[in-house]
């Protein structure tokens, strides 16, 4: 889901940088709400996110996809914390590993660090009224990841209409391709990983779980 440099034109890239400024600002300020106990936890969850993105999973059409881990952070700490930590991961990936891009960094941050954790988190919040926490978390991660992939698909696919010479495929091609990879492979993986992690935390540290709950959207 990392849009590389060159696939989005300058206007699209600038648009996403401007769009991301308030999200980054609010996210970084939100870090002051972290309980001292949560500071190291968010650190290891950020590293966890970096690592799970290295696990490329096979998609039946011959491509690959990966999970992000954003919904786990959104539920355990808060969606704003996820915005900051996934943005850190995306920056390291772009600068040091050539994964994603510098011009597309803000667009990638919007998809994976804003759309994904917020959609995942609020899906979880709605579903947990009817389902168990663990099931709601798994479905939340699935919906969050697929939504982020579809949004990325729209960014690829709108580019030919905005400025040709960059991503050549329109959204008739890009959206189904992005949706398919994440519906069949990465989505189910995200659901299983998220549900497993949440099950473990719920069982071993229920009080920490509740702390994430109370603080998540404060500030």
């Amino acid at each position: 889901m990392h849009i590389p440099d060159g696939y989005l034109g300058p206007y699209t890239c600038i648009f996403f940088y401007i769009l991301m400024i308030p999200f980054w600002y609010k996210g970084v300020r939100w870090l002051k709400n972290l309980h001292p106990k949560q500071v190291p936890l968010l650190g290891v969850l950020t590293a966890f996110s970096f690592l799970v993105m290295m696990y490329n999973l096979p998609v039946p059409d011959g491509t690959t996809a990966h999970i992000v881990g954003g919904t786990i952070i959104a539920i355990l700490i808060g969606p704003w914390a996820a915005t900051v930590s996934i943005s850190i991961v995306l920056l390291i990936q772009a600068l040091f590993f050539g994964d994603g891009g510098i011009t597309t960094y803000a667009a990638n941050s919007f998809n994976m660090a804003v759309v994904l954790p917020f959609v995942g988190y609020y899906t979880y919040r709605v579903l947990r009224k009817k389902l168990s926490d663990v099931a709601a978390a798994g479905i939340g991660a699935y919906v969050g990841l697929v939504t982020a992939a579809v949004v990325a698909g729209f960014e690829f696919g709108l580019q030919p209409y905005i400025q040709p010479g960059y991503c050549p495929y329109t959204f008739w091609v890009s959206v189904p391709a992005m949706a398919f990879a994440h519906l069949v492979t990465a989505g189910p993986a995200a659901a299983v990983v998220t549900a497993t992690v949440l099950w473990y935390v719920r069982k071993s540290r229920p009080e920490l779980f509740d702390m994430g709950e109370a603080e998540a959207v404060r500030g």
Binding site: G6, P40, G43, F48, M54, Q93, F97
Partner: protein, 108 residues
């Protein structure tokens, strides 16, 4: 240190060691959708993508491009390169996170 944080640290260690699964499982697969090399893509669509050619080289200073040591192409070397990348990446993520927390904490 919190028990849960320690558990996650152990999980991070295991994920680093097992990281080559992330390339070996998809060894004969293509790139993720939309992450192709620009010249391959231009050939594919029989179109000159002038804007893409220019912007695609916006950043060429990646230390470990594609999470590998350049030239380590076979499965064994690529796996070692991937583990090295995982270690370097985790260290950089911790470093960046630590700096950010210090900066934000200081303005409290």
């Amino acid at each position: 240190m919190d028990r849960l944080t320690k558990t996650f640290l152990a999980v991070i260690g295991v994920l680093i060691i097992l990281s080559p699964i992330g390339i070996l499982l998809v060894w004969n697969y293509g790139d993720a959708w939309g992450e192709w090399d620009p010249s391959d893509l231009a050939g594919q669509v029989h179109e000159k993508l002038t804007g893409m050619e220019k912007l695609s080289s916006a950043w060429t200073h990646a230390l470990l491009p594609d999470y590998n040591i350049p030239g380590w192409e076979d499965k064994f070397h690529a796996s070692i390169g991937y583990i090295i990348s995982a270690v370097v990446g985790v260290a950089l993520v911790f470093g960046a996170y630590y700096v950010l927390i210090k900066v934000v904490g200081a303005s409290r």
